[in-house]
Symmetry: D2
Subunit: 388 residues, 4 copies
């Protein structure tokens, strides 16, 4: 299949937001393996993220996580970002590390704890005002480990109330992005376990509330692209947290576990034109580079999403529609597979070269000496991590 | 734990609807093993269902499946049911056995096929008018086996349109009950794969549309009682299809695979008072007695649901709430487990005896000679089955 | 990545065995949709299989299923196969369609039933002697639907005894290939649910017993290539049943659901040189073309396996080993992905052309008029199917 | 069902081994919530474990974990245990917290790292000689996160070699217990992902090697009691790690998620008489009391196993066999369910009372003041945990 460059034009404006925490240490409950060169503060995280953007040209925004990325002066952080060619992106709240949250945060039986969790979001909204961020991302880790531990119904009611209080604080240009997750850290039920629950809360809140789809947060076998299509149909797909998984929320590099699934997800995006900035869908990464180098891991992730999008853009949609309409099962599937089986790497390298970027960003990074430099410089201090 | 008979009072009005097709043969794609005594027509199915009701006192309604249960004269069938102490219940449509439906029914790319599927529901509504049934139950087997085979988004749009046309035909006292299913018979994606999709279509249709929760139609690990709580919170839980499973949609006897899960489901029912007839929730069975005798299988199912409900009613909810409010994880779980671990069988036998029913319905059935009678009488003709 | 033709040389001798039953009708428990042109007898099945081989040059053997493919004169069937350029391959026994097998066959509590199932295998071995087949393939559908239904331990003991009696009947050049399956048709436990159980029985029997790995017969999330590597390490991987799945034993076209997984499986094959005929691994298809045309489905399957093998052969194994040895996680993964991301379709088309085969076997089949011919000719009679 | 006390006699000699680490803090990768009163050293852990044994009479042994429980003088620790009425049990090695193990331990590409991991086991064997422990328990966290990261086959070979070196160090009365795990901390493949792999290594090593079955370490839907039956049939079930799960390796209290499954597991134990000490099966707990109080969590666990065993012992096995032999599916299942549905709690309380133990160990613990005492006393120092 020869590649028509025009077919890939939407890649010009397609961007991916990287998470500040991807550059810090992460691990499993068994061990966090420290890596050399890991940032000690948000400024160093931005410096690393700037490498990813400089080499790929496609990752101009960085999500922050509060309190991990709290700084005294957010204006200064924003200015530093701008100097690096970056923007500060979504503000992620944290409801899982305060001792008060052991049995819940926004759903906790005690009003005092719920109020604290709500206040934390008010703080995050203040950060947004300082940074110019428009997305408040909320992942609710609340849930139950044992049947009977608390009332499933009661927690939904409390959650609705807490969310309403947060939503009321938003400015007109703000969005509240609500994530769902199948399990972990709670092992009997999560309070927002699925897209249906997330969407119901968004619908109750209003048009500024949207769903976040983390690709690792589903039951085994779930057809994720169906959910993408459904949320787009409802105009409520606010953002992705991209990663990949073989088992649970493995948080591997997006596209590493099932590249065909990633392609199918991006094809549903293309079907509803959501790859264009006007869609408002924020394509974010959320991954844990537990054993692989982090900056390279981020670059690989950006490339994987670009390759999947390129393939999705190459699908001959009029041929596809024709085959679908004549009930040609194998023909229609064949049109999709033709695009998937196409090797787009050279075409993407050509595009990068034309844009003054390295043809092979991974090789360029390896050759740049940046990693050796930070390994040498970032000695002492406390490496960033989740603080678990 | 001693059992206060008053705690079980709601069992007096709690009924279970049995499916006509449970008395016919069923099997897997590998083999349908015929059983002796299986009914040859809807009248014989009703006769068998009447045994279940006579021995348990709790199964007074029988769901019909169209076309399997088509008869020339539904008034006559209703009268026969009444003579047996039964009512005709939900009317189930069939969208999976017409050759035209190989690639879909209500979602099919061709308008001709969609119109046919819509017309089938009009026919079912006519049956409802003849039988006095108020529930039209729609399970959509439509879906795709291969990525690209058809447009996921396009099928949602067609589905919405088809459902709207069906909904428009309902009488004021009718309900449209829309079921969802994770997979099978489609193996890439179903067109209504989850409760969220079913609910969205119900919300778009109006208040007479409600969700059916089949306990076997979820991804592995799904917390079903959470969905029960959520749908009740939305006032959209129309009915259950009870059965049980270890793997997929195994359609085993309800409570056989995970009795604790059944208890948890019924506890969420009790939490929102949905065990009372006023809730409108129709508690139906939908099972396949592939290798076990069918009438006994149905009796066992009714008993299992009753036992689970009894245990759910025994939960000391004020103790539970107190433990939940004080954050006593093990105490709260313990309150629930106390009820679950209670042996309610004697208490239920006492209730049956007081109502003039046999203490042990299974033993009574085995001793009744009914099975021997139908084995001897039902010779010749074509045994009822799915007609797959 | 440019493709060195020499790297693909093993494709010359790599063959895939097709199942006779793939050309007949199949379906789910809900419906078997009949297709035009479907064979009515084993001779017509062979004629269809010959198309697949003629167009791909890689499918010279056809598995038979007894009793579906019973004929009066197997010498005549073999001669017919030879005329078509085919050989008869593995003989598959059937333990799931006799009424006596409702509660088991080789594991049944009654000796009479077990003896019948053993005798069926003696019959199959006789067929092997007539056809020159060397592989007796045994898939055990036995299992339990309900806890307590029979003794798990007792059934293992009976199974071991039954298998021993079958094994004793083999000729020196015969192999007994024992398949495992996670679930279906039994829904509580299968009697051979996993590779460990299959292997233990093989080890107890002797060197002529080998394991069959059906790619659809595993729990969700199972790493299949690990099992491939492990069985090869034990010299006990006798054969594959290739197909693909999103959920359960979906029996879709191999490579359709997860082409990356198929590549990984074939890479483990290549690692242990099992793609060469000397390995004795029989690469078979076992699929159900429920809604897609069957001959095209088989051609697509052969091509998918060839493409996956081609990519696996392209892995730069010395680069890979070097990256692995230096602990370069992303580098090593990158070497594998480079091969996977390569578009091998033109290279394979070149090879086919050089061998006098059509570059595009699917297009060639569609253009050949064969399907129209059989649609017209095969009218009347009973279409082949599973006879469920 | 009335309970014949004689049926429960095997409970007299049935003991459960508790893990030292259950008394320390644990959590998820998101957060370890500290609890008051948590031990600071192995002596305090033993003191807590002694409470569990004192109140249940059934938990006389404590597993140690090296290096978490390293002390200068194991003779002193053993003596302290004896004073508390306890014995030191299995010695658990740790292969997941040394920085060298990021890419593997016994399977690592570098010999230096493998040698270190082997030497750690020699150290553990030395501890066994000091404590009189006979079980060396090895859980291998090794595995891969990315396809291609290392050779699956090569790692099996290295593992076999490493295990052989460890096995060679065992004394005659020692056992090497090898655990398997489906996933986590590795997310592409574990090096011992399933019972088959664990058993193959045990068979290669010799009779002193046995399999450990952790109830949380399986793929979704796996029938665990089948594995129990199979391993007992091979005389290779060395030990259990009991816990429970809804999703992954949730490490909840055993019996909390699926009490019916726990009963079925113990029934397979009873079928092969493995509840008797002579079987050599070591019934251990391995759980994480992340949000519930730890000592109560352990007591609850011991009671849950006892209740499940009591029910398993109550199964009328001659009735069961009779029903199985006559092919009475529902009758046989009914015999099993009769025992499961029996409320054994009073009978077990009676037995405890007769043995001078509290009828309700949880209530007795709550009333004892022990928790308040340790909460007050254990101030300062570093609470025990996993050190992740």
């Amino acid at each position: 299949m020869s590649i028509d460059p025009a077919a890939l034009a939407d890649l010009d404006t397609f961007t991916i937001e990287v998470p500040s925490w991807a550059y810090g240490n992460s691990g499993t409950r068994f061990k966090v393996f420290a890596q050399p060169g890991v940032p000690r503060d948000p400024f160093e995280k931005l410096a690393d993220a700037a490498q990813v953007n400089a080499l790929t040209g496609a990752a101009p925004r960085v999500s922050l996580h509060i309190p991990w990325d709290l700084v005294d002066d957010f204006a200064k952080l924003s200015a530093y970002a701008a100097d690096l060619g970056l923007q500060l992106g979504a503000i992620n709240s944290n409801l899982f590390q305060d001792d008060d949250y052991m049995l819940g945060s926004l759903t906790h039986p005690e009003k005092r704890v719920r109020d604290k969790a709500i206040a934390h979001h008010v703080q995050c909204i203040d950060v947004m005002r300082s940074t110019g961020s428009t997305d408040l991302k909320l992942w609710l880790p609340d849930g139950l480990n044992y049947p009977g531990q608390d009332s499933i119904r009661g927690r939904q009611d409390r959650l609705a109330d807490s969310l309403q209080q947060i939503y009321a604080q938003l400015d007109a240009e703000h969005r509240l992005l609500i994530e769902y997750k199948f399990f972990e850290p709670a092992f009997y039920t999560m309070d927002i376990p699925d897209w249906g629950t997330s969407l119901l809360h968004c619908l109750a809140l209003g048009p500024q509330a949207q769903v976040v789809l983390d690709t690792g947060h589903h039951a085994p076998g779930t057809n994720i692209e169906f959910i993408v299509a459904q949320l787009l149909r409802q105009n409520r797909l606010g953002a992705f947290d991209f990663n990949s998984r073989f088992y649970a929320d493995d948080d591997l590099i997006v596209g590493a576990a099932d590249p065909f699934q990633l392609f199918r997800i991006l094809f549903e995006i293309v079907v509803q034109d959501a790859q264009k900035p006007a869609s408002g869908v924020n394509f974010m990464l959320d991954q844990c580079h537990n054993i692989e180098p982090k900056i390279q891991g981020q670059i690989r992730s950006v490339l994987n999403v670009q390759e999947a999008l390129a393939k999705a853009l190459l699908v001959d949609r009029s041929e596809l529609r024709a085959a679908q309409e004549r009930g040609d099962v194998l023909g229609a599937n064949g049109v999709l597979m033709d695009a998937y089986n196409t090797d787009v790497r050279e075409a993407l390298a050509d595009r990068r070269e034309a844009a003054g970027l390295p043809r092979d960003p991974i090789a360029a990074y390896r050759a740049s000496g940046y990693q050796e430099k930070i390994n040498a410089e970032r000695v002492g201090g406390t490496q960033a991590g989740w603080g678990a």
